[in-house]
Point group: C2
Chain length 323, copies 2
């Protein structure tokens, strides 16, 4: 099959002779029509985030949209030709992926493959972190950092769709205008990791949940901006690994700081995540309450150009690769 | 009534003319027979931890055991003369306290007032932090710091009683011998806040829960000693407020750092806490699976001496004051 292969020096090469995977018991093979770029792809390419044991070591890609192409034995719920999408531990920069039939979702009715490929990582990461783990619900307030990113734009929309108030931060006014158009109630331009006072000016009681996509010195500001019993859900660390925390605030506010990653989860959790995609998110897309946010659609052959664009943090939303 | 009053300079004076509180709707008055010392008392006396609005500003004391002395209107479940114990927001260094009838518990059968007064703060703090919030359950492993303290000795016993493995730390071999006698599976003598490697030598997969009674630079070591999905429940900060955290570990381990305090909780949570005392803990005391750990019993008039002893961290278990 065709696939974009990484080499040990971080190079990318489009191959046409990679072995096509075969579905096993309870698994299906999907003809990938589109995939999308994640920051984890850049880290994996740079050698700092190896693929898990159940994914190809040399093909990037964490999400896909496509058609079911072949069934393994004992598959009950999925048919050949069905349009499906979801997450994989790796390997979706390729013509085919093999996934367990329980760990996929039918695509929203009438959606294109390019749009569908932009959804799984961004919307599942946002929903899982902010709602399933952070406990965000109607009437509460969430602070979303890096709100113009793939996960950020998803989070703003989800929060709005479930009746929560959204305060969003980004680094440029241009990005904030786009985030505001997606439904953020308040936007804050952050240049120097200082935002707590501006958040508290908007929401004096503090925010209930922080979706933390930056990390580093943002976390101590998050704690200051947090309401009693608030949760900081840590999803990304582009701002650095080291944080100085005031434990006195953690104690006094009965705050929670929680880290989360989707990729390393065991099968039972991946199945649960895809049930969220199918039951919670697909209906919201079909009702138009959520929309994919796409920066650019490129060809798989242009994966490197897409990676360079992500590194520069220029766009708003996802970079999709057509396969 | 008699009560030990604090003045604005941190002094303590035994008064005999303090106004006796009257029970309101749904409240009962308890003739306190014993109370106990908490680190919060020392902080309040030093002016750094004011009493909550619903507690007397000038009488210390967070727990009591005694007899119901008078009933307010609409009290249904409690009778005069009943032996009860529990937590208050303050004011138990006194002959009488008034509490809501839902926020108390009958004492364990056959237990003395001195023993009962040693239980509420220590065992409820430990149970709530370690089990209710930290999710400790049978088969898991908990790391208990300051294990010879009131909360520590309670935590070791509770963990053992519910089928969890216990690794306990303290600063002296003498304290560790007492902790071991209470049921700790492994003990570690900690002088310099370095313990993660020794914990991992005992439990290579890491610990599921840390009961963090020290804070400060212990927290970064906790993170290293933690299993994937592990929880660090922060209860005390005698080691300091500032912590440097490796957010990369929080993310990779999907760890949770959570702060908790009992005293500042609203009524509905205080009621829930006393239901835990009544339903979860009293039966374990009556079956002998948990025992009070008492350092010394003194008279209320000797409260200052008890405080000096606590400051020196000499004893194992609780300092009880007879009223």
């Amino acid at each position: 099959m065709r696939a974009m292969q990484t080499d040990e020096h971080g190079g990318l090469r489009l191959r046409t002779d990679m072995p096509t995977p075969e579905p096993g018991v309870g698994q299906v093979r999907v003809r990938v029509r589109a995939t999308a770029v994640n920051r984890a792809d850049l880290m994996q390419r740079a050698g700092s985030y190896p693929a898990p044991a159940d994914a190809p070591a040399d093909i990037l890609g964490l999400e896909y949209a496509g058609e079911v192409d072949a069934l393994g034995s004992c598959v009950k719920e999925v048919a050949v030709g069905q349009r499906v999408f979801g997450l994989v531990g790796g390997g979706s920069y390729a013509e085919y992926v093999v996934v367990p039939e329980r760990a996929l979702s039918p695509m929203p009715e009438g959606m294109s493959f390019e749009d569908a490929a932009a959804l799984p990582e961004a919307f599942l990461t946002a929903y899982d972190a902010m709602v399933s783990q952070g406990g965000l619900a109607a009437g509460m307030c969430v602070l979303v950092h890096a709100a113009a990113s793939g996960v950020g734009t998803a989070a703003v929309q989800i929060a709005r769709a479930i009746g929560a108030q959204v305060i969003a931060t980004a680094r440029t006014e241009e990005k904030l205008a786009q985030v505001k158009a997606l439904g953020a109630d308040h936007v804050i331009c952050v240049q120097d990791a200082s935002f707590a006072e501006r958040v508290l000016a908007v929401r004096p009681a503090g925010v209930d949940v922080v979706l933390e996509l930056v990390g580093g010195n943002y976390v101590s500001e998050d704690l200051r901006a947090l309401a009693p019993l608030g949760r900081i859900v840590l999803v990304g660390l582009v701002g650095g690994r080291a944080a100085e925390i005031d434990l006195g605030l953690v104690l006094k506010k009965r705050a929670r700081v929680m880290g989360t990653v989707l990729r390393a989860r065991p099968l039972e959790e991946k199945i649960a995540i895809h049930q969220v995609l199918k039951r919670q998110l697909v209906p919201l897309f079909e009702r138009g309450l959520l929309v994919p946010v796409i920066d650019q659609v490129l060809e798989l052959a242009d994966a490197d150009a897409a990676h360079q664009r992500m590194k520069q943090n220029l766009g708003t939303g996802k970079l999709v690769l057509r396969v």
